[in-house]
């Protein structure tokens, strides 16, 4: 972070001045860090290994981070679960639609709330901030969704979670840093507030919309509880995460039952064991995140630190 000449000489000096104690402490720290890296990555690598490993072989256990008998059969088997493909499509759809809707709404409202002369600014701000601290609980929320007839509709994924107060504050504080003079000259040219938002504010907001959009996208892709609560009876709109949840719950029920060990699981399966199917679906559910993660993680971090500084 401090790429000055001073820092570099300090660093060089450090290697010369290292005492025995320093070396031991360094070794301990490196060892701890390697353990953290291993503990973080191992479950992911294990999922990948089992997903690409022969199903009957996986049941014997002992798979580490490499497949023992590599095969693609598990992925072919996924085709036999029609819910999974449709779940993937719905997940993708809600991620795209949800992110676009949430992002546009958040930015538009944030822009309005950034305007100091707006007459309802205080009222709206208080209303949205309050939602961060008060949670009405699951059942009243469930009833409101029912009353609006949103249950079993695709829009239950998009509308109730449209705006997060945290992201709203993030975008608003970003817009407030943009010099007001940019807007003023546009006003003089006769532009209205909406045009200014569209033509001036949105393009300038690109860095913060990248961060906030990613937050929304990850949230949409990962959410499963709304399906479980509001849409479980409409099989056409269940999501991938929800389907994975059902598969997991089946295995949890078996784990709790000592009579049904792995032997029971094999007897039940058709050609691929539940363990392999579970891991393959997990891999499919996590791959989009793994693919974009290396490229976008810096936006997440910048969003967090920006929000922290503000609050």
């Amino acid at each position: 972070m401090f790429k000055t000449a001073g820092a570099r000489t300090r660093k060089a000096g450090y290697w010369h001045r290292r005492t025995k104690g320093d070396i031991i402490v360094d070794l301990i720290i490196y060892a701890v860090m390697l353990i953290v890296i291993f503990a973080t990555l191992f479950p992911f690598l294990n999922v990948i290994a089992i997903a690409f490993n022969d199903s009957t072989d996986s049941v014997k256990g002992g798979i580490g981070i490499f497949p023992r008998i590599p095969t693609l059969d598990n992925f072919k088997e996924l085709g036999r679960y029609p819910n999974l493909l449709q779940g993937g499509i719905i997940s993708l759809l809600r991620t795209v639609v949800g992110t676009v809707c949430s992002l546009l709404s958040t930015c538009m409202l944030a822009y309005v709330l950034s305007r100091k002369e707006f007459m309802f600014r205080r009222l709206f701000m208080t209303l949205f901030l309050f939602t961060m601290y008060v949670d009405s609980g699951i059942i009243p929320h469930f009833m409101v969704i029912r009353a609006l007839g949103l249950n079993n509709s695709f829009w239950v994924y998009i509308i109730p979670g449209l705006i997060s107060a945290y992201n709203l504050i993030l975008v608003r504080s970003f817009i407030e840093q943009i010099p007001f003079s940019l807007q003023e000259s546009a006003f003089l040219d006769g532009a209205n507030d909406f045009t200014i938002f569209r033509k001036i504010i949105m393009p300038l907001c690109l860095p913060v919309t990248a961060t906030v959009g990613l937050f929304y996208a990850v949230g949409q892709w990962n959410s499963w509880f709304d399906t479980k609560l509001y849409a479980f009876s409409n099989e056409k709109i269940t999501t991938l995460q929800y389907e994975l949840m059902k598969i997991l719950q089946q295995s949890m029920a078996q784990q709790g039952n000592p009579n049904l060990g792995h032997a029971g699981q094999i007897a039940q399966s058709q050609s691929v064991s539940p363990l392999s199917i579970r891991m393959t679906v997990t891999l499919v559910a996590v791959v989009p995140i793994l693919l974009v993660y290396p490229f976008v993680q810096k936006y997440f971090v910048s969003g967090l630190t920006l929000g922290a500084v503000k609050s």
Binding site: F2, Y30, V36, F120, P140, I163, Y242, L248, I289
Partner: protein, 327 residues
């Protein structure tokens, strides 16, 4: 702070002589049009459910239309809260749910709060920039996966044929394979470790940002005085990031009862119900699954009220300690 109030003051005075309401309305019509839909949205999805708390004082039965059921339901006063109170005294299911929620929250508050600080301090001691950045990037990967995916991984790691058992046997720490998730005595510990596994790197970011903001000159002068690395951490790094630590600690206390329910829901089984069922899950099962909506609402309301009280207490502490208020 002073400067900004001085700058705002003249504008405020101008506001006083502002044009009448109608003129202002017409002048701000675009702003109003742009924000009004979201006003409706926040009322419907965030404040209407609060009115639903009225259900806690009724015997609500869902028959067809929700609104009709709501207005035709008989008022029963504090009946459901009395049931909860009796349950609490007799150590029934509500007592267990409250105990589990608090136990897991406190465990998480203690361990989940300290580990990111230690992790951040250790990361900061790494000399290799490349290794530091890689470790950090890897460490917050689990934050971005869903609890469903995380729970699937955890259940496969901890199954009796899983890698954790393999490791324990290989190390000679245990002789037979343990079905970790079927043992109710281990549940709280497993939940705490899972949460730390998932959020360690993410929670460390804020401390790392604070550490990188420490004036390097302080370290240089300490070095001239002959301070070793532990003394530098103890006398410079920690005092410098203490304000951040305080704020985060206070916020965590505020969220004490709001421990998530996803991991408990996904990893809990019937066998571990006594230690895995938290308030949200109990409210959900009693309310939605059994149709005792009023009772479930009462549980949720109890939780929310305690949670708000905790936030207010935390905020009061924050003001006392001289930090800025967190609300």
């Amino acid at each position: 702070m002073l400067n900004s109030t001085r700058a705002v003051a003249p504008r405020k005075r101008r506001k006083k002589e502002q044009p009448p309401l109608l003129q202002r309305l017409s002048k701000q019509r675009f702003l109003i049009m742009m924000s009004f839909p979201f006003f409706i949205w926040v009322i419907v999805f965030c404040y209407l459910p609060l009115l639903g708390w009225g259900m806690a004082f009724q015997d609500f039965k869902l028959k067809g239309d929700v609104l009709q059921s709501f207005f035709s339901a008989p008022f029963v006063g504090l009946k459901h809260f009395e049931i909860l109170w009796h349950d609490l005294i007799n150590q029934g299911r509500f007592f267990l749910a409250l105990r589990n929620t608090l136990a897991m929250s406190v465990l998480l508050l203690v361990f989940g709060f300290v580990t990111p600080i230690i992790f951040a301090l250790m990361l900061n001691e790494l000399r290799s920039k490349w290794f530091k950045r890689t470790t950090q990037t890897i460490s917050y990967l689990p934050h971005f996966i869903s609890w469903v995916v995380a729970a699937t991984m955890i259940s496969s790691m901890l199954s009796s044929e899983g890698p954790v058992n393999d490791l324990l046997i290989w190390l000679g720490l245990s002789e037979k394979r343990v079905p970790f998730l079927a043992d109710q005595n281990l549940f709280w510990g497993i939940m705490t470790i899972s949460e730390i596994w998932k959020e360690l790197g993410w929670n460390a970011i804020i401390f790392l940002a604070a550490i990188s903001g420490v004036d390097p000159g302080l370290y240089e002068s300490a070095e001239l005085d002959g301070a070793g690395r532990f003394r530098k951490i103890w006398h410079i790094t920690l005092p410098c990031i203490l304000p951040v630590i305080t704020v985060i600690l206070i916020m965590d206390i505020g969220w004490l009862i709001s421990v998530g329910f996803e991991k408990q829901y996904l990893l809990g089984a019937d066998m571990t119900r006594n230690t895995s069922e938290v308030l949200d899950i109990y409210a959900l099962k009693a309310g939605v699954d059994q149709g005792r909506f009023s009772f479930g609402t009462a549980i949720g309301m109890f939780k929310s009220v305690v949670s708000i009280a905790l936030v207010l207490v935390a905020n009061a502490i924050a003001k006392k300690t001289g930090e800025t208020s967190i609300i």
